[in-house]
């Protein structure tokens, strides 16, 4: 994990004291709500249906155990005892009081956590692969570069009032767990023929009401030029991005309207002017950032310890291990994903007690480190294989050992109409019902990898476009209606799902999903053919027929 130095700490504290002053001026009436709105958004504070919502950044999804305890503390002291992990490696608290916010921020600042730019028309939390630094086959740890970008984009004097929000994601593995193709800028870390680190740069991806898959704007930008290249993209966007219509203000629309060739020429021209400026990064700077990432001292441990061999006799343990434990770059260790999707509960929620207990388990079994992934699950990134049985028992007691990672009940959902002032329809109750329908682990396992993503409005916070099955709630004549798409995906082969037909009512959604799944089980060529591959092979038609034949 990255350890703040005195410089980082000072900035975060200065930000907290600025926000304290802003809140005070708002409460005294010196600032109008209109003036205050953007200021609070830039500190992650939304006004939702029932209360203020507070979104805290977890840069590139890496948390230390003391930081997770601080989140538990905020949940307990200022909120209703739980937090909600989001699709962009943030955590949200839904019931916080405005007057408490400066204190909550100050408490978080003590452990090096902030809420800067988790909202507003600026550069958002930089996200990355939740397995960064531990995934086998990774080129190098992308978080070094994520941290470089985090610093560069924090309180940027030129780009804090962009036409619209701006999201950057980085991956350094062949398998993209960071959904870089649906970000404003997606960065794929690669090496050139000389073995130097650089990035394939994608631009203009995004979901929302006009979804686009990002396009490659440059095949290789050398690491030393990364900041100047990003700065050039942002400068073009800041000047030419549309500001007349909030729905056309994202960079994806600018890229689409100009065309990628013209847009990239503009960027190139700007880049040539600033490429050899103080934005150029030398190796020493990278080394300095790298030196503040703390890596565990792994022991040399057996690949198949006795503890694991003995536990294999327990089918419940084995079900969990096969589902939630992934290979680590060090063969004596594993990456353990912790499902925040128990049957019947809102996806991505964790209670303060669970957070505290997880922090303890991280200290005991994972060198004090926790990760947050965009699928709204957590992970312990460095668990010795001999500890897996003990960890499983402990997780199970906490209700955190549901073996459904990447299965049909591992649903991504936005807060929807239960919390959100933008929503047109409920998301969480749909997710809850679906997890009940597919609660049987044997059935879910038989179905295999299948991602259901649910959004409660067209803004697509639940990433429905890129769900293998996407569910979008809209409002029609005062009623909640759900449009269903299939075939979307968010990985290296990112694609947008296709609509299967007319929308269906709230209480029909789960039946329709069951029909789609049954159709898939009948149509797949072999058990290994994933749902999304069957859809790719056969198209929407057979699924559509199955769903609408009897409706």
């Amino acid at each position: 994990m990255y350890a703040y130095d005195e410089i980082d700490r000072t900035l975060v504290n200065e930000r907290v004291s600025e926000f304290r002053d802003q809140v005070q001026r708002r409460l005294s009436g010196e600032l109008t709500e209109d003036e205050f709105k953007m200021l609070r958004l830039q500190n992650g504070v939304y006004l939702q249906l029932h209360a203020y919502m507070f979104r805290v950044a977890i840069p590139y999804g890496t948390l230390a155990s003391n930081q997770l305890r601080a989140l538990a503390h905020v949940a307990r002291k200022y909120d209703r005892g739980y937090g909600h992990f989001t699709t962009r490696q943030n955590v949200q608290f839904n019931w916080i009081k405005l007057s408490d916010l400066p204190d909550a921020l100050a408490d978080l600042a003590e452990v090096g956590i902030h809420a800067m730019q988790t909202s507003g028309n600026n550069m958002r939390n930089v996200t990355s692969d939740q397995w960064a630094g531990v995934a086998p086959g990774e080129i190098e740890d992308p978080r070094i570069w994520s941290e470089l970008i985090r610093q560069h984009t924090t309180l940027h004097p030129e780009f804090s009032f962009l036409p619209r929000k701006f999201k950057i994601a980085i991956t350094a593995s062949d398998h993209d767990r960071a959904a870089i193709k649906v970000h404003d800028i997606g960065l794929r870390l690669i090496r050139n023929e000389k073995g130097e680190t650089g990035f394939e740069v994608l631009v203009g991806g995004g979901l929302g009401r006009t979804p686009f898959i990002g396009k490659t704007i440059k095949h290789f930008v050398h690491g030393r030029d990364l900041l100047s290249y990003i700065e050039a993209i942002l400068r073009v966007y800041n000047q030419y991005g549309r500001r007349d219509n909030i729905y056309k203000a994202r960079i994806k629309i600018l890229v689409h309207e100009l065309g990628i060739e013209k847009f990239s020429r503009e960027v190139e021209e700007e880049w040539e002017q600033i490429r050899y400026s103080s934005l150029q990064i030398d190796d020493e700077v990278i080394e300095d950032i790298r030196s503040r990432f703390i890596y565990p001292s792994y022991e040399k441990l057996p690949h198949m310890p006795d503890e694991l061999r003995q536990a294999a006799a327990d089918p419940e343990f084995e079900a969990w291990r096969k589902n939630s434990v992934a290979a680590h770059k060090n063969p004596g260790y594993s990456i353990v994903t912790i499902s925040l999707k128990p049957i019947g509960a809102p996806p991505g929620d964790a209670t303060a007690e669970q957070m505290d207990a997880l922090a303890d388990l991280a200290d005991k079994y994972s060198f004090g480190e926790i990760r947050v992934g965009h699928e709204q699950n957590l992970a312990l990134p460095h668990v010795a294989k001999r500890d897996l049985p003990a960890l499983w028992k402990a997780l199970d007691k906490l209700g955190l050992a549901t073996p459904n990672v990447n299965l049909i009940t591992d649903i991504i959902a936005c807060p929807g109409l239960d919390y959100c002032s933008l929503a047109n329809a409920r998301s969480i109750p749909i997710a809850q019902e679906l997890t009940r329908r597919f609660a049987n682990h044997e059935l879910a396992n038989l179905i295999g990898r299948l991602h259901i993503n649910i959004s409660g409005c067209i803004n697509a916070c639940g990433h429905h476009h890129v769900g293998h099955i996407g569910i979008l709630g809209v409002e029609k004549n005062g009623e909640e209606v759900y449009q269903i798409t299939i075939g979307g995906r968010a990985d290296e082969n990112a694609a947008l799902g296709n609509l299967i037909g007319p929308g269906v009512k709230f209480d029909e959604v789960a039946d329709v999903i069951e029909d789609i799944v049954e159709a898939y089980l009948a149509l797949r060529e072999r058990p290994e053919e994933l749902f999304v591959d069957t859809v790719k092979r056969l198209g929407v038609e057979p699924f559509k027929e199955r769903v609408y034949a009897t409706r």
């Binding site: 000072t10 953007m38 028309n121 004097p157 780009f159």
Partner: protein, 171 residues
């Protein structure tokens, strides 16, 4: 509307002309871009300083031929949420080496002072009296800056390098 110049509340010597206001005999004037580009020679011949009010959706490069001859450029924030003038300001200072007065106009509020200073503004038509009075205090709010800009403030990365090198001595 109070003007802050050089960090203090100051008198504004400039009079703003509209597109069709008759040209005053003497005195300092701020002229809209369109009019300035149309009448530049005549405007620059008269006594008194000339400044230009430049809209945030017009390419600032058009002004480059005149930068040595004008005393002020006023950039516009129609709303504080519209950040285009930050880019124009940095281009003027950092690419075109403009050294005259660079004024922020429009919805100029306290909470943007630091960003504006960093982008190169040195003069501010501040919307609220209380904000103008709080200028110096607000400008000092931050001591750490992550990005290099033309304002010359040392960045966090640079400071770390200095620390590294000074710690390196004798060890």
């Amino acid at each position: 509307m109070p003007l802050v110049n050089g960090g203090k509340i100051a008198d504004d010597s400039f009079v703003k002309l509209a597109v069709d206001t008759p040209l005053p005999e003497g005195g300092d004037i701020l002229v809209p871009a369109e009019r300035f580009l149309g009448e530049a020679d005549a405007l620059l011949k008269r006594t008194g300083k000339v400044g230009v009010i430049w809209p945030n959706n017009r390419d600032i490069a058009e002004l480059v031929p005149y930068l040595g001859k004008i005393a002020a450029v006023a950039l516009v924030f129609p709303s504080f949420r519209d950040g285009r003038a930050y880019s124009q300001a940095r281009l003027l200072r950092e690419r075109y080496n403009y050294r005259g007065e660079l004024r922020a106009t429009g919805q100029v509020l306290r909470d943007q002072f630091v960003f504006m200073l960093r982008a190169g503004f040195d003069s501010f038509e501040v919307k609220k009296q209380a904000d103008a009075e709080a200028f110096m205090q607000t400008a000092k709010r931050y001591s750490v800056f992550y990005q290099p800009t033309g304002d010359g403030r040392i960045t966090a990365l640079h400071r770390r390098m200095q620390l590294r090198h000074s710690e390196g001595v004798g060890t």
